[in-house]
Amino acid sequence: MQELLQSLAPWLNDNAIFTPSTLAQYWEGFVNTVQLVFISLVLGLFLAVPLAIGRASPIRAISKSIWLFTWVFRGTPLLIQLYIAYYGLAFIPGARESILWPLIKDPLYPALLAFTLNTAAYTTEIFYGAIKAMPRGELEAARAYGMSPMMAYRRIILPSALRRALPAYGNEVIFMLHASAIASVVTIADLTGVAYNIYARFYAPFSAFIFVAVCYMVLSFSIQGLFRLLEKRMLAHLQPR
């Protein structure tokens, strides 16, 4: 990467703001943003599937407690959740002596915690909605075949519901990417944080922020393209002919 940036230098024409060193910072910010968003989305997805099934459970204790979880995380701003995870956890008595302290000390893990739980809450509701919207006929057919609820979920409900949830989930992924722009308040040098540093240094808001805006747009469109491909493959049966 360093050599690549150095080889760019002649193209930059001694631009005051975009030098190999600031581009290296932007690259670092790009990597941090992608890493943060990707890991929290993957973890959130794995949490959301069982939570969505639990949310649809006929046992009230389970469905209500999961409803409470999504209600809390969807009802409060992500920024506040991030503050609580980063500053709050450090002030729990004994936190600094615990074996978890190296994790809490690093800003990355509290941010991952907040982002993961937040996206898990939204994704749970998206999947739950899709499960609720299962055509009754399919469920009855599954029962008529003698499938246990477990098997019906595995073979009928989940494959169908997760597919139909795909477009809404694609939105959630893009929202998460944009929401990650607040990571810099807990000192993570993500794309926005780097842009803020460079703006503060050179007093050049347009150059600093438009450059990251373009980075975010490239990421958003890539995600959009990816989901369009997925939808084409997995929702082929719903396409107009």
């Binding site: 500053y87 450090a90 002030f91 600094r96 000390k105 800003p107 810099s184 308040v185 000192t187 944080g193 803020y196 540093n197 703006y199 503060a200 240094r201 007093y203 050049a204 808001p205």
Partner: protein, 282 residues
């Protein structure tokens, strides 16, 4: 000794949506002004001064809600000396230069460090205070000093976009891990949690935030050099065209410095070495 810019001043004038009516009005007023042959610089008898509160001990509110602080007292004394009537206008830091440009107020006296970037936007008075920057570490720190070798792999906390940020980034960016915070309070909180090994702040702020309980101490010397980082000290900012007003304040400042009023106010808030006097604490 100087501080840095606290938070970065938002550069550039505000984006203003202008209606046709407004534009017509501006044009006709401009025409009237030119016709009257008067230059744009007005004579002020009332000056509105923008200030970002709180920034102990420079500007803050007392428990009873009164404005207090070095900037406030010195500003009031300057206005009295210059025979001007002054009103203080509260304005958040990020919008403080745009606020000046859009005539929400006529001057900024809010611990603003004079530097070249800001000089392109505003006109500064002579510096009225040059506060030092300093290193702050827990009293129990194992660090022997503040050289590159001591700071290797340490977490250094700074306020984002300040002169301290620029200095630390350039000098220790390769060896240490620099964490940037939106405010000095956030730096103090993360010193408390133990995430930071050391912080580099302007002295008055660091003293107010960290030195009260005896849990922290300063390391190394108080710093005001090199000038290319730490600038020329705090100045009062005016719009570029208000040269006469800036001149009035400069004269008043010179008078206050020679007649002892300045020292009186300074001693109320700072000790001889530039550290905060005890009664100036919250």
């Amino acid at each position: 000794m100087v501080i840095i810019q606290r938070r970065p001043g938002a550069p550039g004038g505000p984006f203003k949506r202008e209606t046709m009516m407004k534009r017509l009005l501006t044009v006709s007023l401009l025409g009237a002004a030119i016709a009257a042959g008067s230059a744009q610089a007005r004579d002020y008898d009332t000056v509105r001064i923008g200030v970002d509160i709180p920034y102990v001990p420079m500007e803050y509110r007392t428990p009873s809600g009164e404005l207090a602080g070095f900037d406030i007292e010195l500003g009031n004394a300057l206005c009295e000396q210059a025979e001007l009537k002054c009103n203080w206008v509260e304005q958040g830091w990020d919008g403080i230069i745009p606020g000046l440009m859009s005539r929400k107020f006529d001057a900024i006296m809010s611990s603003m460090t004079i530097n070249d970037e800001r000089r392109q936007q505003v006109l500064f008075s002579d510096p009225y205070l040059v506060p030092p920057s300093a290193w702050f570490a827990p009293s129990s720190t194992q660090m022997a000093g503040v050289e590159s070798s001591d700071l290797k792999d340490k977490n250094i906390g700074v306020q984002r976009g300040t002169v301290q940020d620029s200095y630390v980034t350039d000098k220790f960016g390769d060896v240490a891990n620099i964490q940037r915070y939106a405010s000095a309070d956030d730096v103090a909180v993360d010193m408390e949690t133990g995430r930071l090994d050391i912080a580099f702040l302007d002295y008055p702020t660091g003293q107010a935030a960290l030195l009260k309980g005896g849990k922290y101490k300063t390391m190394g010397e108080l710093m005001t050099e090199p000038k290319e980082y730490f600038g020329d000290g705090f100045g009062i900012a005016f719009r570029q065209r208000d040269k006469a007003l800036a001149e009035k304040f400069n004269e008043a400042l010179a008078t206050l410095k020679s007649n002892g009023t300045y020292d009186e106010i300074h001693d109320k808030y700072f000790n001889e070495d530039g550290t905060n006097a005890p009664q100036a604490q919250e």
